[in-house]
Amino acid sequence: MLRSKTFVKKTRSGGIRKIVREHYLRDDIWCGSELCTECKQESTVLLKDACIESSLCTFPHYLIPDTNVVLHQIDVLEDPQLRNVIILQTVLQEVRHRSAPVYKRLKDLIHEQEKHVYTFTNEHHRETYVEREPGESANDRNDRAIRVAVDWYNHHLENTESDGLKVVLITNDQGNKEKAEEGGLLVYKCEEYVKSLLANPELVDRLALTNDNKNDISSSKVLFPEHFPLARIQAGIKGGTFLQGTYRASRDNYLEATVLLQGLQNLNRAIHQDVVAVQLLPREQWVAPSSIVLQDEREAKDEETTEEEEKEQAMKNIADDAARKPTGRVVGIIKRNWRPFCGMLNSSLIKESTRHLFTPADRRVPRIRIETRQASSLADQRIMVAIDGWPRHSRYPNGHFVRSLGAAGDKETETEVLLLEHDVPHQDFSQAVLSFLPKMPWSITPEDRAVGVHIADVSHFIRPGNAMDLEASNRGTTVYLCGRLQSLFATLQCGEACFLFVINSKASLTYAEAQLRIDDATMNDDVTSSLRGLNKLAKILKRRRIEKGALTLSSLEVRFHIDSETHDPIDVHTKELMETNSMVEEFMLLANISVAQKIYDEFSECALLRKHPAPPPSNYEILSKAAKSKGLAIHTDSAKALADSLDVAKVDGFPYFNTLLRVLATRCMMQAVYFCSGMDSDFHHYGLASPIYTHFTSPIRRYSDIVVHRLLAVAIGADGTYPDLTDKHKLSLFFKSRGLLNEEGFILFVRKNAIIVLIPKFGLEGTVFFDGKDKTGPKLVFDEEGPTLMVEQHTFKIFDKVKVTISLDDSNIQHQKIRMSLVEPVIPGVSVPVPEVGPLSKKPKLDR
């Protein structure tokens, strides 16, 4: 039977078009139930004995959730306990339209065989299709379609030999519920139903908070201004009164974001990563970004607005006009970008209370209020929480518990948290991926050997479009974590095939071994002399590069010594660079540059290259300021000038100064990017001073290299790394076992109420606060020009050498962090006494 669906649409160009779609109705759509004898279906999804122990429904029943229940309570639906669920096509389509992530989860759910979820295509079924009636809204029509489908199921299954099996509609919409009851359907609210599941009390925790119970969870005081309706926001953006952008919270200060939005009121419930509409404040209300490091350290109490106001007051520093930046306020949220957040539960002070605050691991995300009965068991676990909404009168957004990740402080758990928080794909490789592995042993046909840089052609195995390729392009890069390698390709590849075992190798040397051979004048065998030759060549190459203005910048890399049995980190060192490292690096660079030139010659339009744009002069401000504090001048006109002035920037008796300066210079740089040669005409790589560059040498680690390999293979034959994914977490595990340490460090930045200290030994940055939690902090005088900070009598300048103790602050377990306190210089009331380093519980084994 043919019907047509007609609707009117506004086109992008502002026109209005009538669209007609043909819609075919069929009578061969089966119900999917095991009970049914009428339907000629080949396999069934819904079970005969659909029993869930519920005090409301004592008989076997199938569940039909409506769209809003799926959208908001997907966490409940995902529970393995809930089985025999019918998802109507109407619901599926609406979910798809409204939320892509939920739609994906729903699809996964449907594919899970254990769950017995059946999709009923009611929109194409002759008896359940409903046409929209005059005066009926699209939502009402969909609700009616759902009710008609439920009714159909009830009648359809009535005649079968079921022992009273019924179909239950789950909806949270009062109007829909009433109409369904009128029509004689069995209908419950999601909450009612879940609470009736006697065997699974923990499911209640997963219920998202709905509008009904929002009121009793928070005070009635309205804290936030209302968001504008979407239509007005769109008009405003079009008209230029509002600006649209992604809200990125500041790491240092939870009440400030980028430079635009300051203060709780002005943030107006925006959460990190949301797309928001912003209205600029009048010029006289503009403020400068504050230098205060502010963290939400408060206890879980609600009525602390006074303190809040004080903090905001403190931020509004009397800045001169030059430092003021355009300031605005959030008037509406265009798109929420909520994801489940990992973090810790902050138990309520009242024991019996079921409402608790949750502190996310990501500092840029506000705390979330959740409701749970298992607070005591969750107290020392890392858990995952999803946000449901943020009402105007609530200080915190409301959310619900999703799942527990494991005990806090456990290596497995912490690694999981890191991977989840950075959205690193870390599932095990699927069978489909593994099926593309070559059969071992595998060998290549012998060829004439040539002197050169040999890179394993991983792309030989990774054919474009196969499962392994898709997986790798999704992962993008290999992520190294403590005791865990989140690799780009499946294991066999990395472990065996890729390393050039198949090549007739003279010697396999580590960097250190090679260095020893070069240095040892007594060794004169073939391998050693050729190594020396290579080294000589590398030095020439490097000199040429530096003459052209290549920069030697510094970013500290640390190396862990891992206990061979427990795999716990036991010691940490800054990675030392040897001559051989530099030698291999030179040849790698040479290979990359040659390959870049080759693929560009061959494919001038589509070569994958990598460029590093020259930073704008304003980026160097911080560097020049820092150098000036030591009476040095840095020239930033060209890369060469910068490299030269960095080379001569030395302070007597302060050998580490140069490295510090280079660390700062790294921060001035732009991000290097991959690009396609046809898109851009400027290929210059600023840092390497090379006219052309690409990534070729690490196909095992980076997906971009695979692409380059493929290009090169045809010719003859984004930055996707994770900059925040450093090893800080491992450090905290390390410090946890080591207790207090007393280390020397240098001041990297001076803030209004704190200094940021870099400890060279661990490559670790930390913040030393001067204003204590109590209000009787020391007297602080901040001078923005220096910048310097005077604490009582002592003045802190950038690059000052200080001594600090490092400890893991686990007094506040929801947010374990590395805490630094000042030891030297001694300032009464601020610094702490030198701690005694406690004896280690286990003698550390250095280097395995």
């Binding site: 009117v8 502002g14 209005i16 929209r132 009926e136 007005r232 008009a235 079009k238």
Partner: protein, 291 residues
């Protein structure tokens, strides 16, 4: 125009019949042939009608589109016409054969309908000087058996009656600009008043008398015809003489009076029929093109 060849004897027979007010098919001089009308036949238009008059068949579709009002009439919408002479109607229309006739018909339609006295153009205005509705009226000739003008005008009136324009809301943007919003209910639409839309009546002078709704044979006997647009009130809004023969003032006057009379009596049954069809709603059995 498609013509038939008649012998002298046949011509005399037709002529004599008309003189005695009895035409070849049994009609009197002011009678129309059997008319069939069906509206809403093309689902992707905003309004459509199919009209058969004897063996003449035309299909009319109306599509509404947003446009900027013409500078001369900032508070009015407007209509655009196009007549497609399909080669289905007669082999003569093949290739560019129908172009000349189509152009002639189109020009007449502009003169008859595209003014505020015939169609309520003011109601097509959305915001003066900014937005208005532009109605594309497309006519497709499916079969030619004489009297195209009358059939087309009945089709246009029926299609305009059937036209439903989506309702739009104009909200003042904050900066003075207007925002157009579309109602999300497809049933929420505006209809066009067709009270004053005229019908065309073609009178063919055959011998001493004249006939309405001439067949091709009668047309072959005629030397001149008068095309009139008549409103339901009986006002003649437009008149055009076609054909090589001459008409003396007396017979022009007579024919005008007859045209007014016939035109006036055409509107009543037409509107009644359209309303009746509409009142059936979804129960109406659709005939379409295969019925």
């Amino acid at each position: 125009m498609a013509t038939v060849q008649l012998s002298e004897a046949e011509k005399v027979y037709v002529l004599h019949g008309i003189r005695d007010d009895l035409r070849v098919d049994g009609r009197s001089c002011e009678d129309y042939r059997h008319v069939e009308i069906e509206t809403d036949v093309v689902s992707n238009t905003d309004g459509s009608a199919k009209v058969t008059l004897g063996h003449t068949a035309v299909l009319v579709g109306v599509k509404a589109e947003m446009a900027k009002p013409r500078p001369a009439a900032p508070e009015e919408g407007y209509l655009e016409f196009f007549v497609d002479c399909s080669a289905n109607a007669t082999p003569k229309f093949e290739g560019r054969g129908g172009e000349e006739l189509g152009m002639e018909l189109t020009n007449t339609l502009y003169r008859v309908f595209n003014n505020k006295h015939s169609v309520d153009l003011g109601s097509l205005c959305i915001s003066p000087g900014e937005h208005c509705w532009l109605l594309y009226v497309d006519v497709l000739l499916l079969q030619c058996d004489g009297n195209l003008y009358d059939a087309i005008s009945i089709g246009i009136k029926a299609a305009l009656f059937n036209t439903r324009i989506p309702k739009v809301l104009i909200s003042e943007g904050e900066e003075g600009g207007t925002e157009i919003e579309l109602s999300d209910d497809p049933y929420d639409c505006v209809r066009l008043a067709v009270d004053n839309v005229p019908c065309m009546v073609t009178l063919c002078k055959v011998g001493p008398r004249y006939v309405v709704d001439a067949t091709l044979q009668e047309k072959a006997c005629s030397v001149a015809s008068l095309i009139m647009a008549v409103t339901p009130a009986g006002t003649c809004t437009c008149m055009r003489k076609v054909g090589g023969g001459s008409l003396d003032p007396e017979s022009v006057f007579e024919m005008t009076e007859a045209g007014k009379r016939v035109g006036k009596s055409l509107h009543g049954p037409l509107v009644a029929l359209l309303s009746q069809e509409e009142s059936l709603g979804k129960k109406r059995q659709k005939v379409g093109f295969l019925g």
